[in-house]
């Protein structure tokens, strides 16, 4: 509507302006033409100084022309030779017709009744719309010079009329265009705008509901029809794509899930036998052994420990990849953490003759708040790498404070060694999973190749970045920054004297407690039963949940140690049954879950099933003892 108004106005104005200009030019030209005719007609009369014929000629030529208000002829000497005034003639017309003729030829009378008397000018044109006047001077020449000059003065009434016409025309055109557009737009609204608005509405609904099965049912044969077709086609494409995306997502999710389950099951399956191996080795360690046996046993224990490290690494990687890793916020004793790391490697460093320097800057606080386990894991990885690849010289672990504001504290840890270093082209890939400086590295130095990858990701998950600077044959420096919360005094948990220490002084309880072990693995059965016997408990064993439920009905127990993954009936189901189907006091008998799955969520699952506590395999015997005692007292 607005557009058509603008367009019609613009075009009309343009037309009027053009037409006006043309008309004005024509008006001026016509007036000039008339003056030229008068000049040509009166060349002889002017030369022969016969002003009566000139006067007559002038009047005759101008009498019919009501626009001309004044006419004059100037002779060679610039004298006013003949004169005509419309006003004077109109006055004369009021008199008799006879008089009119005389007065027409009477120049002096006309001059005395005229509005204005023109002055001479050779050639001039003056057009003034405001003053409503056109004045022109046209001179006639022959070969010897100027003969005469004709002056005409005209009013611009016709031009004003024309302007009025323009205004009327403009009004008519614009209003009719508007009317026309208005009349057109009503039916067009329904045929053009409406479908487009519908389209827009549908698009809005689709984007809101995410329902791509919606289609627009409007069969048309015009461009809008094409638009709707295209829109529908686009929708079906999106729908197809969506379906395939959803499908792909499901596949990806289920495969990830499968991977998770596989890792969980595998780690469980592997941990269980390791538990047995380590437990048996420990029991064996308590027996009398000759030197050779003792040495063999030591090797056996070392291998078992190493195997556990590998399992933990794999598990960590899978946790990180599945995004299920969470960081704790506990106090960390900076110095203690670092010195314990150095201490655990002391045997190896001493053997290699390496010197380890711990360099903690003065302004590093004693405590910070963060995840001590993960920090230690990173540092152990870096330090054990340094120890592994350094054959002489020293390793420096340094900590400096980088930043400290708003209860946040950024520390930079660096581990610098004087080892074999890493070639420049290997620097990029050193942090990739299962990558080592070369394939030979694994054979030469051992290790899973996961350590650095895990460390890097652990640093990054805590908002830092692990850097490496290295020169082959001179050594490497790994360093990273982690931001901790500042430690405030009240955060400190008072050091607890563990119950295990208290109970380590074995006092045979007056009433011997009876414990039911529910476990399908024979080695573990043997191990746990031996330990329980050693700690002075009566114990019984069930190979799976079903058997356990049966035994519970027949005997009285004070505690159940429940493995979670078992054939026939697993620990979760058995626990749920005990908690729901049994009578008191059996209903609330303490149950400790024994799980090999270190995956996140496992403990929650145990709690959910109604277990009181849990211990993850492979467990340290002290740990198990403490838990058993706390639940039987």
């Amino acid at each position: 509507m607005f557009v058509s108004l603008i367009a019609s106005s613009f075009s009309t104005i343009l037309f009027c302006a053009y037409d006006f200009d043309q008309y004005k030019q024509k008006y001026i030209d016509d007036t000039k033409q008339l003056a030229k005719i008068i000049g040509d007609n009166n060349d002889a009369s002017v030369e022969l100084q016969q002003y009566i014929p000139a006067q007559r000629n002038l009047s005759e030529l101008l009498a019919d022309n009501t626009q001309i208000t004044t006419g004059a002829i100037f002779d060679k000497e610039q004298r006013l030779f003949a004169f005509y005034s419309l006003k004077a003639i109109s006055l004369a017309k009021k008199d008799s017709i006879l008089n009119l003729k005389n007065l027409t030829l009477d120049k002096d009378w006309q001059l005395s009744h005229a509005n204005t008397i023109p002055s001479y000018s050779q050639n001039d044109t003056n057009f003034s719309l405001i003053e409503n006047i056109l004045q022109i001077y046209v001179s006639t020449f022959d070969e010897n010079g100027r003969i005469n000059t004709v002056y005409l003065e005209a009013d611009l009434n016709t031009i004003w009329d024309r302007l009025t016409t323009y205004l009327i025309m403009f009004t008519i055109i614009v209003s009719s265009v508007l009317l026309f557009v208005a009349m057109l737009s009503v039916p067009l609204q329904s045929s053009i705008s409406k479908p487009i608005l519908d389209l827009e509405k549908t698009a809005h609904i689709i984007s809101k509901k995410k329902d791509y099965s919606i289609r627009i049912n409007d069969k048309r044969e015009d461009e809008i029809g094409l638009l709707i077709d295209a829109f529908n086609e686009m929708l079906s494409k999106i729908e197809l794509q969506n379906e395939s995306l959803i499908h792909a997502k499901e596949v990806a999710e289920s495969s990830a899930k499968a991977k998770q389950d596989f890792l969980a099951n595998m780690s469980h399956e592997i941990r269980t036998p390791i538990n047995g191996v380590m437990g048996m080795a420990e029991l064996l360690n308590d027996t009398l052994l000759n030197d050779e046996q003792y040495h063999l046993l030591k090797v056996l224990r070392g291998s078992a420990d190493h195997l556990l490290v590998v399992i933990n690494d794999i598990l960590d990687i899978s946790k990180i990849e599945s995004g299920k890793l969470e960081f704790e916020k506990k106090e960390i004793q900076v110095y203690d953490t670092l010195s314990s790391i150095i201490e655990t490697h002391k045997v190896e460093t001493d053997k290699k003759g390496l010197n380890t320097i711990l360099d903690i800057a003065k302004d590093v606080p004693k405590y910070v708040i963060g995840d001590p386990v993960r920090l230690k894991q990173i540092l152990i990885n870096l330090y054990s790498n340094a120890v592994k690849f350094t054959f002489n010289g020293s390793i420096i672990i340094a900590v400096v404070k980088v930043e400290n504001n708003q209860n946040k504290l950024t520390l930079r840890f660096s581990v610098k060694d004087s080892g074999i270093g890493i070639e420049k082209e290997k620097l990029g890939s050193i942090f990739d999973s299962f990558t080592q400086a070369s394939n030979e590295t694994t054979r030469k130095f051992g290790g899973t190749g996961l350590g650095l990858s895990i460390s890097k990701q652990l640093v990054e998950l805590q908002g830092g970045k692990l850097h490496l600077e290295s020169t082959p044959n001179l050594g490497s420096t790994f360093y990273f920054e982690i931001t901790f919360d500042e430690f405030i005094e009240k955060n400190l948990t008072p050091p607890q004297i563990t119950k295990a220490k208290k109970t380590s002084t074995i006092k045979p309880t007056s009433i011997t407690k009876s414990i039911l072990l529910v476990e399908d693995n024979e080695v573990n059965q043997m191990l746990v039963l031996r330990l329980l016997k050693k700690w002075g408990y009566k114990s019984d064993v069930a190979d799976n949940g079903l058997i356990a439920l049966k035994k519970l009905k027949e005997h009285k127990y004070d505690l159940i140690l429940m493995d979670v993954h078992m054939p026939e009936m697993d620990g979760y189901t058995a626990t749920k049954k005990i908690r729901t189907e049994f009578e008191e006091p059996l209903k609330s008998i303490p149950i400790i879950a024994m799980t090999a799955s270190a995956l996140k969520g496992e403990f929650e699952r145990c709690k959910e099933a109604g277990m009181n506590d849990y211990i993850s395999k492979p467990f340290k015997k002290d740990n198990l003892e403490e838990k058993v005692r706390s639940h039987t007292n």
Binding site: N41, D43, A44, S45, E47, L48, Q49, Q50, P53, F74, E77, Q78, R79, L80, K107, D108, L111, S112, I117, S119, Y120, S121, D142, E143, N144
Partner: protein, 171 residues
């Protein structure tokens, strides 16, 4: 710019013969001679017959003036013979009407005379076969018949301005 006052009649009064010289020039402009009238050179010859009333006025006035691209040439004589080759013959006052008559006869005797004769306020000049006679107050009479006979074409403007026109053979 020259401002014209009310007294339009206060022309700078030209001398009578200055004005008549101007009229001769104007007639020359508005009269067409046939092309064979100009044989010798490209000039328009004015012959003044009798006592010259113009003096050097006409010489000064016609110097450097062109009529349809031709320059003026002025002859003065007492006889028609001497004025042979003139396109315009101005017959001054002071001749008797019979003298004038015989002059005109002599001029128009030959078929191809092509002469515009102008009389200086001579009575019966046009009736006797002269073409233009100057009358007082800057007026003139015109014998169209004589002009046709002399194979001259007169511009209608001259006809319009003439105070009297003789369109016929008075004989």
């Amino acid at each position: 710019m020259f401002i014209t006052l009310f007294q339009v009649d206060t022309y700078a009064q030209f001398d009578e013969y200055e004005r008549k010289a101007g009229m001769i020039n104007t007639f020359a402009k508005f009269v067409n001679w046939p092309s064979q009238a100009f044989k010798e050179d490209n000039s328009l010859v004015l012959g003044i017959l009798g006592d010259d009333p113009f003096g050097d006025v006409i010489d000064n006035m016609f110097r450097n003036r062109y009529v349809k691209g031709r320059v003026w040439k002025i002859k003065r004589a007492q006889t028609i013979k001497e004025l042979k080759g003139s396109h315009i013959v101005f017959i001054s006052k002071g001749f008797t009407s019979s003298q004038v008559k015989s002059f005109l006869e002599e001029i128009y005797d030959r078929n191809n005379s092509f002469v515009l004769t102008i009389g200086d306020n001579i009575p019966n000049f046009c009736k006797n076969g002269g073409i233009i006679n100057l009358t007082p107050n800057g007026l003139y009479t015109l014998n169209l018949y004589s002009a046709n006979t002399a194979q001259l074409t007169i511009d209608v403007k001259l006809l319009n301005l003439a105070s009297d026109i003789i369109p016929y053979d008075p004989d």
